[in-house]
């Protein structure tokens, strides 16, 4: 590990001031960043500890929630309002990591965690454009069973590993940001970038910009929501495919739907093509399957991950069918 400085931010303004220094990085629970430092994937000059910033979970007048960026994953998953109003989010968080990791990990840290592509981690022995721009990608022709079928580029096919973000994407979450140039908000679905030619640029955050909170608007009234994760072992594994969905069915017709996929793309994948096919259509398995297929028509399988296309289609269909049963 390289030598580095450490500073604890008193408040958001202090954090942004400290975080605007060259090669500074914000430190949440450290469950991913510290691993990356130990493996020499990243080498920040300064860690700005932001765990002292807001971790409050506030209920908003409109029925939504505002979650402080430093809230621990466990605290969010256990929160009464989250469990009652956003079951997809509680389930997604509990599907991730281990109890110990969830106890440490923060909301903002979860959002900004890096890919688990093994070539990204293998600094000494593998090429990675995300880690070293222009170096090449060992995953595209290598072992890529866990990699992206949607949104990849010739430069990078890594997946975003978060479960929580998939639920946030489906819940229309908005992230509150604060940077040197002031505060702004961004839909979560617009925070992460697809790799394109620059996989090393993973988000729309400006240098030193800090996530201060995540805002959840109320889900459509009468909608059911859920999260399902498919993985190689029953716990402590990243998703092969995951699905977060919000669905409202009235008189057999879909009147509200939001759908997001995990484990299939370099960012939490909001399935808007499928949503368009679903909205106003009859809530039956044929519709669900057809909608999943329209979304996955753009999928580009690699050598080892073609199964994800069918797995995603099946999982989307099953999740929507479950929710339709629940909502009816």
């Amino acid at each position: 590990m390289n030598p580095f400085g450490y500073a604890r931010a008193a408040d958001a303004a202090d954090a942004v001031r400290l975080g605007s220094a060259p090669r500074a990085a914000y430190l949440g629970g450290g469950t991913n960043l510290v691993d990356l430092m130990r493996r020499n994937v990243v080498a920040p000059a300064t860690l700005v500890d932001v765990t002292g910033l807001s971790s409050a979970i506030e209920e908003r007048p409109d029925g939504g929630l505002l979650i402080g960026a430093a809230a621990r994953n466990t605290a969010v998953a256990e929160h009464r309002a989250v469990r009652a109003r956003y079951p997809l989010l509680a389930r997604a968080i509990l599907a991730g990591g281990s109890a110990q990791i969830r106890n440490m990990a923060t909301v903002a840290g979860n959002i900004l965690q890096r890919t688990r592509c093994p070539y990204f981690y293998d600094v000494a022995g593998s090429r990675c454009n995300r880690r070293h721009p222009g170096q090449g990608c060992d995953a595209i022709d290598g072992h890529n069973r866990d990699h992206a079928i949607l949104g990849g580029s010739p430069a990078c096919v890594a997946t975003h590993p978060s479960d929580m973000c998939v639920a946030l994407a489906a819940a229309d979450a908005v992230v509150h940001l604060r940077g040197a140039r002031g505060a702004r908000v961004l839909p979560l679905t617009e925070l992460h970038r697809l790799p394109g030619d620059h996989p090393e640029i993973e988000t729309e955050l400006e240098a030193g910009e800090l996530i201060t909170a995540v805002e959840l608007p109320p889900l459509p009234p009468g909608a059911a929501s859920g999260y399902r994760k498919v993985r190689d072992r029953a716990g402590y594994a990243f998703a092969l495919v995951s699905v977060a969905a919000v669905l409202r069915v009235e008189r057999g017709v879909i009147t509200a739907v939001r759908l997001a996929l995990g484990g299939v793309a370099p960012k939490p994948w909001r399935a808007r093509t499928a949503e368009q096919a679903l909205l106003g259509a009859p809530a039956d398995p044929a519709t669900f399957r057809a909608a999943a297929r329209t979304e996955l028509a753009a999928a580009v399988p690699l050598r080892h991950n073609a199964f994800k296309i069918e797995l995603a289609e099946r999982t989307v269909t099953a999740v929507l069918a479950d929710l339709a049963g629940e909502a009816r």
């Binding site: 590990m1 390289n2 020499n40 688990r116 093994p118 070539y119 981690y121 293998d122 600094v123 000494a124 022995g125 593998s126 060992d138 022709d141 290598g142 072992h143 069973r145 498919v230 993985r231 190689d232 072992r233 029953a234 716990g235 402590y236 594994a237 092969l240 495919v241 199964f307 069918e310 797995l311 099946r314 999982t315 269909t317 099953a318």
Partner: protein
Amino acid sequence: MTTSAHGRAPVGPAPENWAGPVPDPLTDPARTRRIGEPMPRLEGLAKVTGRIKFAAEHAYPGMLYAALACSTIPKGRITALDVADAERAPGVVLVMTHRNAPRMNPMPGFGSDPKAGGFDTLPVLQDDRVHWNGQPIAVVLAETQEQADHAATLIRVGYAPEPAVTSWEEAVANGTAPTTIYGGPGRRELGDAEAALRAADVSVDEVYRTPYHNHAAIEPHAATVLWDGDELFVHDTTQMVAHSAWSLAKIFGIPEERVHISAPYLGGGFGGKGLWWYQVLAAAASRLAGRPVRIALTRENVFRTVGSRARTEQRVAIGATADGRFEAIIHTGASATSRSADLSEPFILPAQCTYAARTFKLGVEVAYLDMMANTSMRAPGGAVGSFALECAIDELAVKLGMDPIELRLRNEPRQEPIDGRPLSARNLVRAWRAGAERFGWDRRNPTPGAVRDGEWLIGMGCAAATHPYVRSPGAAARITLHRDGRAEVEVAAHDMGMGTATAQTQVIADRLGLEPHQVTFRFGDSRLPGLVMAGGSQQTAAIGAAVAAAHRELLAQLLKLVGDGSPLGGLEPDQVGSLDGGVAALDDPSRHESYADILDRAGRDRLVAEAVAQPPEELTARSMHSFGAMFCEVRVSSVTGEVRVTRFLGSMDCGRIVNPRTAASQFRGGIIMGIGLALTEELVLDDRTGRVVNASLADYHIPVHLDVPEIDLIWTDIPDPHAPMGARGIGEIGITGTGAAIANAVYNATGRRVRDLPITPDKLL
């Protein structure tokens, strides 16, 4: 039988020939009090309260910390090696490469000498050659671990790569080579099996594939090394102290007695804790630096520099008559190896012993890759061989329309199937019947896909488990009997966490007629007597036989000390045994004198008896194997292909069970590892570069608690008349049969036959 006032009989000397007609007196429950008790692990409290030191927890003044830099190509030469930045980094004391490493002899390959313990025979840091992707090319010693780790990243290497064989397909295409199984034949034949297969009424002929596996012991490999002049002391984590000491002596060209290895506690071994590069590198660097060194491999280091179980591709073909009698068993194929290991994964072991057949054709060959030396892992051969064989039998049962247990029972052999050795004790049929009843096998619907609970398909499967009885020559024990009636027993054996010390304390207490608190069992040190490796599930028998030999010697010495005034006067060693803290006549236990009285009268503070175990003649004279009948129930998602094991029963036949508590843990641990083998574990080598892709426990998936159901266990507990204490091995068998039982249950649930492990969701879509 003549018994004492307590109703027990003295424990006389064990047989001089374990193949002979007379069993160990300790096979007789009337002579034992502690064997069979569920004694809690002796070191358990100390372990869970952190009062035990593992190899990486010893510290010495001036000790340096080691870090490795490893190759990133599979084959070639090092053309540039710039260590200047590393040498200048803070805290760095030494950077050792092939340029400045001391000259050392190659590691003696396991099996090349009874004491050879190396699992890789390449020269360690002696030249510029790279033989596998991940081979250590430099060792950094620094004042702290962090400094060493950091400096290791500053080493810059240039290579001249050479063409390498890094894909299995290419290795097989290059041609596979005949090989041996631990020095024995790699090929066994009886009759013309191919002809018998062609002529059979019903047959199956399929190919099964198993990937590389890593041991994934919770304790990564580590050693703390100290030189005193030309004397070498190593705190190691090893399952072979005596082998490692002898081998390190050869490598450094010093006398064997100048190497001292201590390894009393291990956080698991599973076959992976032998002599590898790390101990040699640490000792060499320590010698060069003139200071003690601790090397604690990172998990990534373990994946890249310690061998794994080799990948296999196995053909199993079985021909049977219409009523299910086996006409032919063919089990052939190949496993991966490196030129420097040249070690097969002996997957034909189960087919050699589990079933009768008119003809056999069994053979394992090796395919050479430029890869890390492969090695033994829990149930070498048996774990992956039983997967192929026991799945094929299930497939045959389907074709015959016969219950798979019934098919197995119809082919129960009356002797060792190929060479005709008489059976010692084989009660697999009883294990099948007891297991089937307890598990509720009669409730299984034989039609695949017929049982459903919502989206979940439910199935049951079974398979036979087997592991050979092993007892290597050379085990020795020293008994020191003290005047106060306590006894110390010393054996250069191991407790990797399985409970060896606890079980042996029970055995020794019974053999010597003592209470467990009067017995101290010392182990895990190369200066103790004998040669026992913790391998082949042999330690219970191997240590048991050594202690029995020393006990025979002890009785003889004690009789020499008794005078005419003793109640034992005039008796010969074969006429006495141990009972109630002393010696008694076998035919009249009232003729008894305590050890304390004997030593007291003779004016001796202690008596020392040391002996080597009788040669393992029972191995060649008898057919001796542990067996089990494995049952499981699985649920398979018809949506996602996810498999959950919901019930598991092991019905075991391993001779007498010395300690039901520690034995159950061994069976359970094996079965859990078998769940991993079946469903989750696959060490991936990038077929372009030979580099391990998933070199972490986040990516190499061993089962987590949620993957493991409650595991039920029963056993026959029938003593084997030719094994010490009647006990055959229990440590490895749990992983055998388990993979096939799960795969067969998945078939019963879904109608899908997966012949390519692990059974991940994608294979069931």
